[in-house]
C-alpha cells in the first residue's frame, strides 16, 4: 500500500526521518518495500495572480493573460480555458525548466510575445491532470517560488501489508501502527456533519437484510442536490500518490475515505433506486447482471447482491450496476457503507476475476465498528466538495457481536519466546495497539481484541503481537535445551553419496532438469501404449505443452540438454542426472521413482598433443555402469534389449538378479534427429530403487594371498554367435583357483579371434606348473567343447 507521509501526518505526528520510519515499520512486520521521495521536477516556477485575460487577436483558442508576480506584470499566451481573473496560477518564467529536458523560452505565439507559460498539474509533475491550468490555493502569495512550497514535496512509503493484516490497508491503519512505534495515539479526523432539511433518511429510503451472516452491518445515508465536479487539488494529489486515479468529487470521496479509513463505500443515484429501497440478498441460482463497466456478469448462488424494488443494483463489495450508477445528471445520492462477509466476497471476486481495491479490503475483513463513522466522514466531504444537503438520519442494520477475549499467562509469553519481558512492558505493548487488558490474575490476564483485528484469535496471536512490539532484535539467541543427537546417514543417503562421488571421479557433470516433459517425448521415444512409461501424469495447468506432463523417463530432458550444449559448440559431454519419474497407477494412484541417467558423446578430450582419444563407444557407457555397480556391491548382467529407442546393434538391458534395472546403449539416430542431434549419444538409465535394494556397502577385509599368482594366455577362434561372456563365465566356473579372466585382444580376419588372460591364485600354497598345466588343459577342453569355439594355435 502506498502511504504519503504528508497524509499520515494528519493522524500522528511524524517527528522522525522517513528512512527511520520505514526501517521501524519494517521491523514491526510492515515491510516498507520502497520509499519514493517526491521532489519538484521543475525550477523557475513562481506563483502569480491573473490580472487580465484578453482573447488572442490571431487565434480563437488562445488567450493573452497578464500575470502579476508581485514584482512585475508579465504577458503570457495561454491555451487553457479554466482560468479566470484573480486566479492564483503557477507561472514558468523564461529559463524555467520543466521535467528532464524542457526549458521555457521567450517566444512569439501567433505574433504576440509570451514571457513564460502557465502550467498544468501534469506539467509540474504533481498529478496526471492536464485538463487545465493548476489553480493554486489563495493562501499562496504571488512571487512564491513553487519548488519551495510543501505541495511540491512528499515521501511516499510503499508498505507491503501482510495478508492477515487487512486493518493496515488504510492510512489510518498504518497511522495506528506508527503511533504505537512513536508512543503516540492515532487521532481520527475531526469534523462536524451538518444535516439540514425537514426530511429524515428513515422516511425516504427502506433497508432490509435477508442474511445478517452475509451482511451484519449496513448503513445508508442520503445527500441531495449535489453537483459533480473535479475534486480539489489536495484530494486529487493524495489519491494520485496513493496509486489511484481521481475521477470526480463523488467517486473521489468514496475512494478517499476508503484509503483513509479502510472502509469501501458505494454511491447510488438515489432517483434510480426503484421503490426507494435497498435489500441485501444472497443470490439463489444463476442470473446475469450488467455492472457499471457495461459487462454482463454471471451471478451464482451465494453471491451477495444489493437490490432495489426491481432487482440487483450492485454486486456487494465488488462492483455497482449500470442501472444505478452516478452520472453527470445525478442530483440525489444514496451512500452505502457496509460490512460484507469476507469469504463470500472472496469467492465472488475470484469467480468474476475482479480484484478491486474495495473487494480486496472486504476480503481481508474491515472494521465493523467503523462502518457508521466512515459514512459520516464521506457525507461530510461530499457536502464540502459537491454541495447539496445532507439528509438527517440514516438507515442502519447492525447485528452486534460479542467482542473476543483471550486469556494468556506471562509464562505462555516468555516461555514461547525465550524472554523475560516484564508485566508492565507486556501491558504497555498491547495497549499501544488497542488490545486492552480487562481482567488480571497473578499468572496472566484477559485481553479484549478490537474488531478490526481479524488476525487475532488465540494466545499465539497475542504472543506474536508482543514479540513484534518488543522487537525481535531484543529476543536473545539461545541453544535448544534438548540433548544434541548425532544423525546417521540413511542407507539412501550413503548410496547417493557414493554415486555422486563415483560420477565426479569418472568425469561426469551433474545436471538438473525440470520434472516435466512433453507427451511428444513419449511418442518420439516410440514407447508402446502398454509400457508403464506411457502412463504419464498430466498437469492440468501447465506453463507450456513442452512441460505438459510429469516425466516418465529421464533421457528426453537429458538429450535436450545435450542438444543445447552441442548447439553452442561443445562436442564432448559427459552428463549425469539423478531425478524422479512419475507414473499413473490404477485407481487414481501416482507412483514416484528415483532414477539415474548417464549420457556421453564425443570422446574423452577433443585433442591432446600426445595421443588421440578414441570416440566413445558402447563399452564406455557399459563400463560406466559396471564400474558403478561394482562400487555399490551390485552384480549386474547385460541382456538383449527390446527398448524401441535403442540402436539394437549397440544396446543392452541391465539386469540385476534377473530383474531389469535399466538399459544402456546408443540412441537411434532417427530419434536423435528429432532433438536436432547429429552425433552418436550413448546413454543409460537405471532404477535407483533396485540398486538400493540389491546393493551392499558392507566393508569386510579379506586376507591378501601370501603366494604368488600365475598367468596363462589363451587364444580362441569364436563364432560371432557365441557371446564372449559365456567363455568368461565358463572359465571362471572351472576352478576356484581361477581368480580373474580378462580379454586383452580381439580382432577379426576370417573369424573372430579372442585372446584371454587367466590368473591363477591359491591361498594355501604356491601353484606348481603341473597344476596350472592341468587347469590349462581343462580350460581348452571345456571351451572347445562348445560349438563355434576352437583353439588358435
Amino acid at each position: 500500500m502506498k502511504v504519503p507521509i504528508e497524509w499520515l501526518n494528519e493522524f500522528v505526528v511524524i517527528d522522525i526521518e522517513p528512512e527511520d520510519l520505514a526501517k521501524r515499520l519494517t521491523m514491526r512486520g510492515l515491510e516498507v518495500e520502497g520509499l519514493e521521495k517526491l521532489a519538484p521536477r521543475f525550477s523557475g516556477v513562481i506563483a502569480g495572480t491573473i490580472t487580465r485575460i484578453d482573447a488572442h487577436p490571431n487565434a480563437d483558442n488562445l488567450s493573452v493573460c497578464s500575470i502579476n508576480t508581485g514584482r512585475e506584470e508579465l504577458t503570457v499566451v495561454c491555451g487553457a480555458s479554466n482560468i479566470s481573473v484573480n486566479d492564483r496560477v503557477p507561472l514558468a518564467t523564461v529559463g524555467a525548466a520543466l521535467g528532464q529536458d524542457f526549458v521555457v523560452g521567450r517566444r512569439k505565439v501567433r505574433g504576440i510575445e509570451s514571457f513564460g507559460m502557465l502550467c498544468s498539474e501534469k506539467e509540474l509533475g504533481l498529478t496526471d491532470d492536464h485538463s487545465g491550468i493548476f489553480i493554486l490555493p489563495d493562501t499562496v502569495t504571488p512571487g512564491s517560488v513553487l519548488a519551495d512550497l510543501s505541495i511540491a514535496h512528499d515521501t511516499v512509503l510503499d508498505v507491503s501489508v501482510p495478508p492477515n493484516r487487512g486493518d493496515c490497508l488504510s492510512v489510518f491503519g498504518i497511522a495506528r501502527e506508527v503511533a504505537s512505534i512513536l508512543r503516540q495515539k492515532a487521532k481520527l479526523p475531526n469534523f462536524t456533519l451538518q444535516a439540514y432539511g425537514d426530511g429524515r433518511a428513515e422516511d425516504e429510503i427502506d433497508l432490509a437484510i435477508h442474511d445478517t451472516n452475509a451482511c451484519p452491518r449496513y448503513v445508508l445515508k442520503l445527500i441531495k442536490g449535489i453537483s459533480l465536479a473535479p475534486s480539489p487539488f489536495w484530494m486529487r494529489r493524495r489519491i494520485t500518490r496513493s496509486g489511484m486515479r481521481p475521477i470526480n468529487n463523488i467517486v473521489d470521496v468514496t475512494n478517499y475515505v476508503m484509503l483513509e479509513l479502510g472502509q469501501p463505500l458505494h454511491a447510488f443515484d438515489f432517483e434510480r433506486l426503484t421503490e426507494s429501497r435497498i435489500e441485501v440478498k444472497v443470490a439463489q441460482g444463476s442470473s446475469n447482471f450488467r455492472t457499471l463497466d457495461s459487462i454482463d456478469r454471471p451471478l451464482e448462488t451465494g453471491d451477495i447482491l444489493i437490490c432495489d424494488g426491481s432487482g440487483p443494483v450492485a454486486v456487494a463489495g465488488i462492483m455497482g450496476g449500470e442501472n444505478s450508477e452516478i452520472t453527470g445528471a445525478t442530483k440525489n445520492m444514496a451512500l452505502e457503507s457496509a460490512y460484507f462477509n469476507p469469504f463470500s466476497i472472496r469467492a465472488t471476486a475470484r469467480r468474476l476475476g475482479i480484484r478491486s481495491e474495495a473487494s480486496l479490503r472486504f476480503e481481508k475483513g474491515i472494521d465493523i465498528d467503523n462502518v457508521g463513522y466512515a459514512a459520516e466522514r464521506a457525507m461530510y466531504l461530499m457536502h464540502e466538495l459537491a454541495g447539496g444537503t445532507v439528509v438527517k438520519g440514516q438507515r442502519e442494520i447492525f447485528e452486534k457481536r460479542e467482542s473476543r477475549t483471550i486469556y494468556i499467562t506471562y509464562s505462555n509469553i516468555n516461555g514461547l519466546l525465550g524472554t523475560h519481558i516484564s508485566r508492565d512492558a507486556v501491558t504497555r505493548a498491547l495497549r499501544s495497539i488497542d488490545l486492552h487488558i480487562t481482567k488480571e490474575d497473578e499468572n496472566g490476564f484477559i485481553v479484549s481484541v478490537p474488531n478490526f483485528r481479524h488476525d487475532i484469535g488465540e494466545t499465539a496471536d497475542i504472543i506474536e503481537e508482543i514479540s513484534r512490539i518488543h522487537g525481535f532484535e531484543h529476543i536473545p539467541d539461545t541453544s535448544p535445551v534438548s540433548v544434541l543427537k548425532p544423525q546417521k546417514l540413511t542407507r539412501k543417503e550413503r548410496f547417493l553419496n557414493l554415486i555422486k562421488e563415483y560420477c565426479l571421479g569418472t568425469g561426469f557433470y551433474e545436471i538438473i532438469n525440470f520434472s516435466f516433459f512433453s507427451v511428444k517425448d513419449i511418442e518420439n521415444f516410440l514407447i508402446p501404449g502398454d509400457d508403464e512409461r506411457s502412463r504419464y501424469v498430466p498437469i492440468m495447468n501447465p506453463i507450456s505443452r513442452d512441460w505438459g506432463v510429469m516425466r516418465t523417463m529421464m533421457i528426453p530432458s537429458v538429450l535436450r540438454c545435450m542438444a543445447y550444449n552441442l548447439n553452442r559448440g561443445a562436442k564432448n559431454l559427459r552428463f549425469f542426472e539423478k531425478g524422479k519419474v512419475f507414473f499413473r497407477e490404477s485407481a487414481g494412484g501416482i507412483s514416484e521413482r528415483t532414477m539415474l541417467c548417464f549420457a556421453i558423446t564425443g570422446r574423452q578430450k577433443e585433442y591432446s598433443w600426445k595421443e588421440r582419444h578414441p570416440d566413445y563407444d558402447f563399452f564406455d557407457i557399459k563400463g560406466t555402469i559396471e564400474g558403478l555397480m561394482e562400487r555399490l556391491g551390485v552384480s549386474c548382467q547385460v541382456g538383449a534389449t527390446t527398448e524401441p529407442f535403442l540402436d539394437h546393434g549397440r544396446g543392452a538391458d541391465i539386469m540385476i538378479d534377473g530383474i531389469k534395472a535399466g538399459w544402456a546403449g546408443a540412441i537411434r539416430d532417427d530419434i536423435l534427429q528429432l532433438y536436432e542431434i547429429e552425433q552418436t549419444i550413448y546413454c543409460a538409465e537405471l532404477r535407483f530403487d533396485i540398486i538400493l535394494e540389491k546393493g551392499n556397502l558392507t566393508l569386510q577385509y579379506k586376507p591378501i594371498p601370501r603366494y604368488p599368482q600365475s598367468t596363462r594366455d589363451f587364444s580362441f577362434y569364436v563364432d560371432d554367435g557365441v557371446p564372449i561372456a559365456i567363455l568368461v563365465e565358463k572359465i571362471k566356473g572351472i576352478s576356484p583357483l581361477i581368480v580373474s579372466v580378462g580379454i586383452f585382444d580381439m580382432f577379426r580376419k576370417e573369424m573372430r579371434s579372442v585372446s584371454m588372460r587367466v590368473v591363477f591364485q591359491s591361498y594355501e600354497d604356491t601353484l606348481t606348473d603341473e597344476r596350472i598345466n592341468a587347469l590349462q588343459e581343462q580350460i581348452i577342453g571345456e571351451l572347445t567343447k562348445i560349438d563355434g569355439i576352437s583353439l588358435r594355435a
Binding site: 512486520g29 514461547l416 519466546l417 506474536e464 529476543i475 539467541d477 525440470f514 492440468m540 550444449n565
Partner: protein, 336 residues
C-alpha cells in the same frame, strides 16, 4: 709373501680406467673370484699363524681401499651416464600436463549439501516426501484455507482437483509429525513447483524445510539455530536480522535477512536499496498445525523454517538469472 707394490699396482690399473666397461673389467680382475686378491688369499693359507694374521690384516686394508676407490669411480661413471641419458630425454616442461578427467556437482547440489551438512551437525535428520502431494498436506494441514490466493491455479500446478505439485517442502513437516511422536528434528530438502517462469522464477526449484518440535522449544532457539546456520553458510561476520512476517503455518513468523553481499549494506539494485537480502522464512509452529497432526499444543512447541536453495546459491555465487540453473550449460556447470 710379498705384498709390497700391490697397492701401487692396483693404483696404476685403476688410474687407467677410462669408462664404465673398463671399470667392470678391472673390478673383476682385482676383486673377482679369480682376481688379484683371490691369489693373495690363497697364499695366506700357506703361512703360519702369526704371519698369516699380520699379512691378512695388511691385505684386507688394501682391499678395503681398493673397494672404496672402485666404488667412487663407479659412482662417477654412473653420474656421467645419467647426465647423458637425461640430456637425451630432455622435455619442454612448459607443454601442457595431462589432467585426469573429473566431473562436477551441480551448484544446486553443492548448496544443498552445504545446507544439509550444517543442519546435520546441529542434529537434524533428513526427511523426504513425494513431489506430487494432496491439497490436504500441501495446504489444509498447514493452515492454508481453501480460498487462500496461493491455491489459485495461477500459482499452483494441479494434477487434478485435490492433487498438486507441492509448492513447498512444508508438507514433509506434516508427514513426519503424523508418523512419529515428539521430539522431531528434521530437515526436508526437495524439488517444489510454482506456475512461474521468468528471470527470477522457474516452474521448479528447490527448498529445504526445517522443523524442530520438543518440550520447551523457544523462539530464541530458532534465532540461535538460524544464526549459527547463516554464519556458517555466509561467514561469521555476516550481518543478519529477524523481521516479523506472516506465514499461515507459523506464529510468530520471522523473515531472516542477511546484509547485502553485493553492496555490503550500502544499498543497491539487488537489495532494492535496503541493504538487506531475504534469505529464509521461519517461525514458531502454529498451534493449529499441531492440532491438525494430533500433537498436544499445550505440551510441546516447535519452530520451522524454509529456504530456497537457488536463492542461496545465487547469493553465494553471484548468479543473476535463476534460469541458468536449468539450462545446464557446460560453460555454467564447469564454474562450480
Amino acid at each position: 709373501m710379498d705384498i709390497s707394490g700391490l697397492k701401487e699396482k692396483i693404483d696404476s690399473e685403476v688410474s687407467r680406467i677410462g669408462n664404465i666397461e673398463d671399470l667392470k673389467r678391472v673390478k673383476v680382475s682385482i676383486l673377482g673370484r679369480k682376481g688379484l686378491f683371490a691369489d693373495y688369499i690363497d697364499q695366506l693359507k700357506t703361512l703360519d699363524k702369526d704371519l698369516r694374521r699380520d699379512a691378512g690384516k695388511a691385505i684386507n686394508e688394501i682391499k678395503s681401499w681398493a673397494d672404496v676407490r672402485l666404488g667412487e669411480l663407479e659412482k662417477h661413471f654412473n653420474d656421467i651416464e645419467r647426465q647423458k641419458r637425461e640430456q637425451a630425454s630432455l622435455i619442454d616442461i612448459t607443454m601442457p600436463g595431462t589432467t585426469p578427467v573429473f566431473g562436477k556437482k551441480h551448484p544446486i547440489t553443492l548448496t544443498l549439501e552445504e545446507i544439509i551438512r550444517i543442519f546435520a551437525s546441529l542434529g537434524f535428520a533428513v526427511a523426504e516426501g513425494p513431489d506430487i502431494e494432496t491439497e490436504f498436506y500441501n495446504f489444509e494441514s498447514l493452515n492454508i484455507p481453501s480460498d487462500h490466493p496461493a491455491r489459485d491455479m495461477q500459482d499452483t500446478f494441479y494434477i487434478r482437483p485435490g492433487v498438486v505439485l507441492r509448492t513447498h517442502t512444508s508438507p514433509v513437516q506434516i508427514r513426519t509429525m503424523e508418523a512419529q511422536l515428539p521430539p522431531v528434528k528434521i530437515i526436508a530438502p526437495g524439488s517444489v513447483y510454482r506456475c512461474d517462469n521468468d528471470i527470477s522464477h522457474t516452474p521448479m526449484f528447490h527448498q529445504v524445510e526445517g522443523l524442530m518440535v520438543d518440550k520447551n522449544v523457544r523462539f530464541s532457539d530458532l534465532k540461535g539455530i538460524l544464526s549459527i546456520f547463516i554464519h556458517d553458510m555466509f561467514g561469521p561476520d555476516t550481518p543478519l536480522r529477524f523481521r516479523p512476517s506472516y506465514f499461515p503455518f507459523t506464529e510468530p513468523s520471522a523473515e531472516v535477512d542477511i546484509g547485502c553481499v553485493i553492496c555490503r549494506g550500502q544499498g543497491c539494485r539487488v537489495c532494492k536499496d535496503t541493504g538487506w537480502l531475504e534469505i529464509l522464512g521461519s517461525g514458531m509452529v502454529h498451534p493449529q498445525v499441531f492440532r491438525n497432526v494430533g500433537y498436544d499444543q499445550e505440551e510441546i512447541t516447535g519452530f520451522a523454517f524454509g529456504m530456497g536453495v537457488e536463492r542461496i546459491a545465487m547469493i553465494k555465487f553471484g548468479i543473476d538469472d535463476i534460469r541458468q540453473f536449468y539450462y545446464n550449460d557446460i560453460r555454467f556447470l564447469s564454474q562450480f
